[in-house]
Symmetry: C2
Subunit: 294 residues, 2 copies
């Protein structure tokens, strides 16, 4: 393991620890916090918080100081998965090889656990105890709010649901994914820069990197849904085709998609030039996500 990727791994371990402890002092409220933590600690890749912590570090900030923001973005990502899996939405029984939230806790608690995670994201970011300058905290939390809402992630989910069973064009699928998964990833990169008071050039470079990374990530997801191994993925393969999802692979085929992932990854890596060697961690991340098998 090189220095660059061991640094990202350190971020990942730190955010795992922070997430594990963040609700520890709360009153139980039935099984609400159990349900929230069940999905929050289900072993995702933590790409968004790691990205936020690393762009913060690359702009001269302290990743430790921005943990509430890194945790907040993972909470919002997690709430979106809980609500997407509900019977009235994608109706999924498995997520990362485990029963989905509503399968374990029931639908009502799953809805409320999602609501509470979304709200908790703002509770942590807006806590006066973060010690960050209010103007920066306000700006970073605002970026996340806009990325998560109807003009971002939720808007993408609406387009996704509306498109099921219809055939969409490649531009529609790209727009849908830019909102549904891209918006939060780009927000993570920008928030890290904002919280570290990085300059406009750094901010734009980090956003461009994250936009390319997010799109490559989604296309690789679609590829793995076709060619992946069920046990490695922790979910059934072929589920996109079954639910008549419009994906990059159904529209463009596997070969074109593999080329696209390579091209986007290259563009992501190049976007980091203004960071010099400090960008090595994120360069490694882009390459490792492009070659991942789950």
């Amino acid at each position: 393991m090189s220095m660059a990727d061991s640094r990202l791994d350190a971020h990942r371990l730190r955010i795992e620890e922070w997430l594990r402890d963040c609700f520890r002092d709360r009153e139980p409220r039935g099984d609400l916090y159990d349900a929230m933590c069940y999905s929050l600690m289900a072993g995702g890749k933590r790409i968004r918080p790691v990205l936020l912590m690393e762009t913060c570090r690359m702009c001269g900030g302290d990743p430790e100081a921005v943990l509430p923001f890194a945790g907040a973005i993972e909470m919002i990502h997690t709430y979106s998965l809980i609500h997407d899996d509900l019977p009235c939405m994608d109706d999924d029984d498995l997520r990362r090889g485990r029963p989905t939230n509503h399968k374990v806790y029931g639908e009502a608690t799953a809805v409320l656990a999602g609501d509470a995670l979304l709200t908790a994201a703002f509770e942590f970011m807006l806590d006066p105890g973060t010690g960050l300058p209010p103007a920066r905290a306000l700006e970073a939390a605002g970026i996340l709010a806009r990325a998560a809402g109807g003009r971002g992630m939720v808007g993408g989910q609406v387009l996704d649901m509306a498109g099921e069973g219809h055939s969409l064009g490649i531009h529609e699928v790209e727009e849908l994914q830019r909102l549904k998964t891209g918006a939060l990833i780009a927000a993570a990169a920008e928030m890290g820069c904002v919280l570290a008071d990085g300059g406009m050039e750094q901010r734009q470079a980090a956003r461009l990197y994250a936009e390319r990374l997010g799109l490559a990530f989604q296309i690789q997801d679609d590829i793995l849904d076709v060619v992946g191994d069920e046990a490695t993925l922790g979910k059934p393969v072929g589920s996109d085709a079954k639910s008549e999802k419009n994906t990059f692979v159904t529209l463009k085929g596997l070969d074109v998609c593999r080329e696209l992932v390579a091209k986007l990854t290259q563009e992501a890596v190049e976007a980091l030039s203004c960071f010099g060697a400090e960008g090595d961690g994120l360069r490694w991340l882009a390459n490792s996500l492009a070659s991942r098998e789950k």
Copy 2:
């Protein structure tokens, strides 16, 4: 109409107008914004935003400047109603005399409309364009986040659902209502003071007023569920008994509850003494809510 209550009425008309226009420039995203506006414009009493605007004015602030915060609290109240009405929660077909959100737009869109309203509340409060000092905006938005989450409104909803079909004690019902409806009402009063940079005495007085008002409001709701007129209320009476809800009335009876409403209203009115005649609007509000028939 006296000067005090015509002022509150002016706040109400202004927030109606602001809410009607706030999503006007957004891309449609299927029927997401239609669903959001359907519930947002369903003609509630607007108690929370009016309270926020009035405590702001009473502390020397400009109610016009805090409209994004007043609107945000109504969005959060509205999202909670949409999610509470879902089939997996209270399974209600009617709200304020109209079909509930999921009856009109389907469950998936209702879930997403709720999510998008909750997120939009923070988008508006954290918008750099509000022009409010960042530290005050951050503090006010933080108060709302804490009041809306697992330690506030969502926590209350969890206790409410867990208690259905069981018999709860009066202290449990009081705690449940303090969280489920009281937290947001108290937050509204406190946010207005914070945004106007009011002093600690004003802040505490406004909170105490709102806590008493919120409890009186809830007990009056329970009374109306038993003795109210279906056409006036816009919903079936007796629904609490049917769903075996634990209410103040089922536990204490109508007479005791009527006395409680009078006592709490008196305490709310007295809490405003430090505001002198400037508190007349909120005194009128407390008395009018205690004698309301819907």
